[in-house]
Symmetry: C2
Subunit: 202 residues, 2 copies
């Protein structure tokens, strides 16, 4: 079985969590890994019908997502969690519960996120139509020690994705050479390289 892990994206609404999670998911699948993406749409439709944006509702949502990540992670899946998680405390709980946890801080200035406003939620929040909106009327607590920071106002989504992917290799969660659903040990990799070289492929 592969080593499961959860990449937990933290950042303001509109910072680029979902976009990067989908690019990373695609890359992991090409690399031979099973990946599951839990972004805001997926979470709202399947796990958190009826929950709003209040701190309490957000915390319940994070708890459910974390539970799901835990079960998938311990079964060898690469899980990408990209739903909103403004509370540092709730994220730390998720980290403890899940174990193999890689926090990615998707950093982007508020004004850029408001400008993008892909979902139209900032407009509503700024007009007061949504209460407790993270980044506007509620805090969105920055992570203190994320495994990696990507800056989406300075990098392309592809660059951010590649940085995270390299980090996953560095942390030993993803193999350097890719595989079809199987992570090779360094010894196995050496043997494969030797064979390919013998056959004249590399």
């Amino acid at each position: 079985m592969n080593k499961g892990f959860t990449v937990w994206f933290t950042g303001l609404p509109g910072a680029g969590k979902s976009t990067i999670s989908h690019l990373l998911g695609k890359k992991l699948k090409e690399w031979g890994r099973n990946a599951e993406i839990l972004d805001s749409d997926v979470v709202r439709t399947n796990l958190c019908q009826g929950l709003g944006f209040s701190k309490q509702d957000c915390d319940i949502s994070i708890q459910r997502v974390a539970f799901m990540c835990k079960l998938l992670t311990r079964n060898g899946v690469a899980v990408l969690s990209a739903a909103i998680s403004p509370s540092r405390e709730a994220r730390e709980k998720a980290r403890k519960e899940i174990g193999n946890f890689v926090e990615v801080y998707v950093k982007c200035p508020l004004e850029v996120c408001v400008e993008r406003d892909i979902t139209g939620l900032y407009q509503k929040a700024l007009k007061g139509e949504i209460q407790d909106f993270a980044g506007v009327s509620d805090p969105c607590e920055e992570p203190l020690n994320p495994e990696i920071v990507v800056e989406t106002d300075k990098e392309t989504a592809e660059e951010s994705t590649n940085k995270i992917f390299q980090k996953l290799i560095e942390l030993g969660y993803v193999s350097q050479t890719g595989s079809a659903g199987h992570v090779y040990s360094p010894e196995e990799e050496d043997k494969i390289k030797e064979r390919l070289s013998r056959l004249g492929y590399i």
Copy 2:
């Protein structure tokens, strides 16, 4: 990767769904399979905080459990769902969504379940303290075509578990010989047997 599947237990509260799911989970793990159990306790604590017993709440709960089962199943996990699911329609939706779906009807007469009343919920429902309780004030729709029926007033929990386990082998979800996390093909099994025989082990 193993072939994932979901065993979906249907039956009255107190019929024995949870007990059998835990015995089956143990057996599957001994057989080398990753198994996850989603019983009422797990579901209420982690996925459905705040939901009650009304048909609407039950349907939302089933939808969440089904989503979880789907993701685990497509990643090669053996999932045992033992939460209450009184609605036939909601179960049929779950079956379609999950795909590799084995419905087990845990059959037990209502009077026996009331007599057992392990959780004390029947007492409360009969006194009218809980509204919409499946089996008492709300219907608990019997499955029309379950893959297997076990009768917990006539069999021991171990007997029911063994019947289900045999069915899983028959359906090709579990290998006949057991393994450490890997289901062998018939050809691989033959080779292993031949080797063991050659070495004098069998």
